[in-house]
């Protein structure tokens, strides 16, 4: 169970907005977290707490392949992202680093004015609670669930592919 405050974003949030390119000259997680949404929402990096939940509209994470984007979001404290849809490279990257994503049009729309309010997410059940309502998400595909269970692609490869 993930329980935290909602950070609400709109449609087509691109990776340049999530972490502007001028901050890509480092790869340290804490540095990236500090500059997450630096231009669009300067309060985000300052106020986000571990366990918070990001809710967005369509095509979240579009644009460049920079893994710095999901790393920055995860290192800042976000533990799940709910959106109507995700751009495909961001989708891979997030699961690969162990940041779960849920696709739910009803939750995205139902929580559109819930910025700062609390939500509870049950990943396994694909269940999202917020604003006194319960929303359901598309089930996480089996392979993605395995990645999350293993703790990301690195651990998955170590365990499954190389058998360490």
């Amino acid at each position: 169970m993930i329980q935290g405050r909602i950070w609400k974003f709109g449609d087509d949030v691109d990776t340049d907005v999530i972490i502007p390119a001028r901050y890509l000259n480092v790869s340290a997680e804490a540095e990236l977290a500090k500059n997450c949404f630096a231009d669009m929402r300067p309060d985000f990096a300052r106020e986000v707490l571990v366990g918070d939940i990001l809710v967005a509209g369509k095509n979240f994470g579009c644009g460049s392949s920079r893994e710095h984007a999901p790393i920055a979001i995860k290192a800042a404290g976000i533990r799940a992202i709910i959106a109507e849809s995700f751009a495909r490279i961001f989708y891979r990257n997030a699961f690969n680093i162990g940041l779960p994503l849920l696709e739910s049009i009803e939750a995205s729309k139902g929580l559109s004015d819930a910025d700062g309010e609390d939500a509870v997410v049950d990943l396994a059940a694909g269940r999202i609670e917020g604003k006194g309502q319960v929303f359901s998400a598309r089930p996480i595909p089996d392979f993605m669930a395995k990645l999350i269970d293993a703790g990301g692609l690195v651990e998955y490869i170590k365990k499954v592919k190389i058998g360490r």
Partner: protein
């Protein structure tokens, strides 16, 4: 069972007779690619996995192109990580300094990517090589690190959207306009998770550089790859660069598609994508009066020699608008040299341009032409997101090299017909 070109390439690389959209496969990678921004993270992941050596020293290419020549100490440290890793691993293809250019231009130019291959790059514009009839797509650094260790990648077989272009192109209209028009039609998530297959009489007549431009921006419609069947143009291009035999795949005539989109090109004018999405396109005649501060010609989208020729045709004997900055970034050292030999660079200098080194430059707001608040640029690049080229209150209009050059002369967004 019939298959598309995308499905056929994926099936072969997964060691299967047949794949269908939605299948999860593990596929062998022919070329893995990363740059100075994405490679340091991929190298970290590679080490965490605990492998000593990359799966094949000829199949991992690293290119320093984003923040080079190193823009600051932090960037220099990132490049150092990549350089040392390349040396320690004995990689056959590491490019930096005078050997380096924009990754998606130098790989085809050097014959390192071929039709029929499966190419995975830690850069979203890796889809460029689809123009050669390869399956090629972008991933993040963790995927790339895992590929460097195992030589394999997990992929979900995408459904294919078939785009058929027919008719005759107007003057000053090319691959950039076709893909901007298409993104405008489909939206920035119109091809999400899908393969885009470009076909039709117009594509078969397009020169290679314009095909690369189209495949390059498949990602801007959300596409996983943007592929074209190899033909005589493709094979002539490849034969000039490598003696290796390409694998030719073609879609079966009865292959299944998620959608088929027919585009009549006759009425398409040069396209301009307004801030802040590549899908926000208008024909150049409907732009209105938009004064500009800067023009950028280059990038993995339009940094080819022929793009520079197109721009030079407009700039020959003309001066850029007073106070405007025109920045030109040739895509590779070879393109730089040939442009010099043809007198194109002199045309640019006479017009008042600054010529930068072959690198990504200001496209992603890294360096060499970053915008201040309130400034407006026309660029032949691929993205015009908020803050993409600098300050969050700056704006970028995307266009082809003819329009970019004409805009530089007029000091406002406009096409060659308005000169």
């Amino acid at each position: 069972m019939s298959m598309t070109i995308t499905e056929k390439i994926l099936a072969v690389h997964a060691g299967r007779d047949h794949v269908s959209p939605g299948d999860m496969i593990e596929a062998k990678v022919d070329m893995a690619l990363a740059n100075d921004v994405t490679a340091p993270l991929a190298i970290k992941v590679f080490r965490e996995i605990g492998m000593e050596k990359v799966f094949d020293t000829g199949k991992v290419t690293l290119v320093a192109d984003h923040f080079v020549p190193n823009k600051d100490i932090a960037s220099a440290e990132q490049v150092k990580i990549v350089r040392e890793f390349a040396r320690q691993q004995g990689l056959k293809n590491y490019f930096e300094g005078g050997e380096s250019g924009i990754e998606h231009i130098i790989l085809p130019e050097k014959g390192l990517v071929l039709p029929g291959q499966l190419i995975i790059g830690a850069d979203s514009h890796t889809c460029t090589y689809g123009a050669l009839g390869a399956f090629s797509t972008g991933v993040g650094s963790t995927d790339l690190g895992a590929i460097m260790a195992t030589g394999e990648v997990w992929l979900k077989v995408p459904p294919t959207i078939l785009l058929r272009y027919e008719g005759s192109l107007q003057p000053h209209v090319g691959g950039k306009d076709l893909i901007l028009h298409t993104i405008g039609l489909m939206g920035v998530e119109g091809a999400l998770y899908c393969a885009m297959e470009f076909t039709g009489g117009v594509i078969s007549r397009l020169p290679m550089y314009q095909r690369f431009t189209m495949s390059n921006m498949a990602i801007e419609a959300g596409g996983k790859n943007g592929i074209m069947e190899p033909d005589e143009t493709t094979l002539a291009y490849v034969a000039e660069r490598t003696s290796l035999e390409p694998d030719i795949f073609r879609s079966d005539p009865d292959a299944e598609h998620e959608r088929v989109i027919d585009i009549k090109v006759d009425g398409i004018e040069p396209q301009v994508a307004f801030p802040h999405l590549p899908s926000n396109v208008r024909p150049v005649s409907e732009v209105g009066d938009i004064p500009i501060d800067q023009v950028v010609i280059g990038s993995c989208t339009n940094g080819w020699l022929e793009d520079l020729r197109d721009a030079a045709r407009i700039l020959k004997g003309r001066k850029i608008s007073p106070g405007l900055r025109l920045i030109i970034m040739p895509g590779s050292p070879l393109i730089y040299k040939l442009a010099m030999r043809e007198g194109i660079l002199e045309t640019f200098l006479d017009a008042g341009a600054v010529i930068g080194p072959p690198c990504c430059g200001p496209c992603l707001g890294g360096h060499m032409g970053v915008l201040a608040s309130g400034e407006i640029a026309v660029a032949t690049t691929n993205r015009n997101f908020v803050g993409r080229m600098g300050h969050p209150e700056s704006e970028v209009y995307l266009a082809n090299p003819f329009v970019a050059a004409a805009s530089a002369v007029m000091g406002r967004v406009g096409g060659p017909d308005q000169l």
